[in-house]
């Protein structure tokens, strides 16, 4: 039962990563590890998401 629960959880996490659903959480984690010392604030979710989208669609991203 526990094993099943663990695997469902893992699948769910993978799904969130693939879809980009947890991108902001991963950004926060990264920010706290590397950039928190400088005293700035991390981007809020909305701004982060907007920047990500603009970056993602800059250049050739879809093929035939």
């Amino acid at each position: 039962m526990n094993y099943l629960k663990k695997n469902i959880n893992r699948g769910w996490e993978l799904l969130r990563t693939i879809s980009g659903d947890d991108a902001y959480e991963r950004y926060l984690e990264h920010w706290h590890t590397y950039h928190a010392k400088n005293g700035d604030k991390p981007l809020d979710c909305k701004t982060f998401f907007q920047m990500e989208q603009d970056r993602k669609w800059n250049g050739i991203k879809r093929c035939c």
Binding site: Q50, Q53, G59, C63
Partner: protein
Amino acid sequence: MKSLKIIAWVLVTFLGVGAIGAIALHRGETINSVWFIVAAVCVYAIGYRFYSAFIATKVLLLDPTRATPSERLNNNRDFVSTNKWVLFGHHFAAIAGPGPLIGPTLAVQFGYLPGTLWILVGAVLGGCVQDFVILFFSTRRNGRSLGQMAYDELGIIGGSAALVGVMVIMIILIAVLGLVVVNAMKYSPWATSTVAATIPIAILIGLYMRNIRPGRVMEGTLIGVILLLLAVVGGGWIDQQPNLRHWFNYDGPTLALLIIAYGFSAAAAPVWLLLAPRDYLSTIMKIGTMLMLAVAVIVLRPEIKMPALTQFIDGTGPIFGGGLFPFVFITIACGAISGFHSLISSGTTPKLLSNEMDARLIGYGAMVVESFVAIMAIIAATIMDPGVYFAINSPVGIVGKEAVDAIAVINSWGFPINIAQMHQLAADMGEASLFARTGGAPSFAVGMASIFANTFGTNMTAIWYHFAIMFEALFILTTLDAGTRVGRFMLQDLLGNLYKPMGRTSWYPSVFFTSALVVSAWGYFLYIGTLDPLGGINSLWPLFGIANQMLAAIALCVATIILIKSDKLRYVWITAAPLTWLVIVTSVAAWEKLFNPELRIGFLSHAQDLTTRLAGGVLPSDITVIEAQQLIFNDYLAAALTTFFLITTWILVLETLRISYRIITGKSHLALSEAPYQLSQKITTKSRLIIKN
């Protein structure tokens, strides 16, 4: 353990050879599609396990201790290490578009065999190798794009050829994809209203993910998918309403103008509003539907009714003119080898790669999956009666406008079909008529709908058909939006050199001007395509195929030069062999498209024929004088483009040969542009020891 593995691989080999033998030598009425799946899986497994391993360990020397751009240049913006399976998904979603569904469907006019063999061999020895080596070389060069690599390794000539090539191929690609959507929506209120509904749905999801629940991608996508499914059902309802359906009932040229207007607004609009949310929806639909189709084919194991070879290998085929050689290799680009992939494999994916070793799975592996999608398209096109396949895919210019005439012509080819059968099929699919629905999308949708209907219940056939049309239109429109934007950016970049403000991507006059320029370029080909009695696909698809193969040739030239510079001359054939094949194929195809006296093959002979007819006042009944003049101009334009492709390819090949000669003879040449080695910090001392031993 080791001997067990050897036995297993020997079995896979025998199974694969057996399945290919069965497909190739079978001469009965029908053959089961299971053979295709088995042959494909075995070929891919052997190709991946042995050939890609050989390339990885002997030729490219993938190095797990070497830091990738995502580690060396990690700024958490462009360069983010990504789990290899996640990246595999992203890379696959980026490379796989409508191409592997359309090309194979069209190529089935030669029978099931040529397309199938080319997809398998072309992918394993060509397309997968191209994607893999370009991904790897770009990773070793800080994720530089194909154009930049061509510039670095081949010099200014190679660099410019790549840049112009990308621009032109984009224009042709968008035009031909637009034509495919137009043909799927022509006189079909159900299809048109469903496809139209995808626009407000995408906008709604865009607003949801930006303002209501920022970043909640999964929620937004789920809501979008539900709305899309409702739109498919709703389209059927609209089709039944006499006072509503005429709002969505258009002929080809009108739909072309609507698509052009749409393309302009989509390219000028911000990405979050339409493009990004539509992409989430199209990606999930694409992966979901393909998985469902694979499961359905395996469960149903339908019989293939198309013969192995048809008489049309002589070049008289109705769907596109031209013989088996070289046109099967031009028609099927995506699914076998697609030059466009090299633009994704360089630039985008390398910046996310977390370890060099992942390049094999992502570069070679993702293309294997795309190739499998192409095999499924072959299956979907060949399980219907050949007569039905030709009735749907043959343009009116070949079989005539009236159903009776079309049936008579198709019967005369030896493919039995009657009017009642076509009426019944159209009724089942919820369409007024399925005659002359060229472009491959309706034909694929019919195949897919019948597979799904037979697996999941026949009472929903019409819904499955329009689901398939919606699903194809969804990612065709994504490619159209994304392609137009890329064209716009490239143009702005170029014009920015002449007048600074033009280069600013947020300056509205520049945005509108460049968007309009790009849209009118592909819009022109699209609109003319809808006027062409031969269906437009006949001239545009080969042009696209030639352009795509030319891009692959550019990518392989770059890879070949890098291999020679890296002292890998004795392994140079892994890219030089597919390169040679592509150069032969594109050159012969381009030559035939230019100078073949057959009207449906040679652009110039077609133009001359129309000119003579125009002068003599004996035009075919279905074209006006103005249309004839447009078609003549279009023929010359297509001929000019073909000449351009031919010349560019050869300039590049000769340049590659010249540089190779200089390298081999020790004369001066541009140095290898590889970024210097840097030890990956992710590698622990322990694993370093393991790797060393």
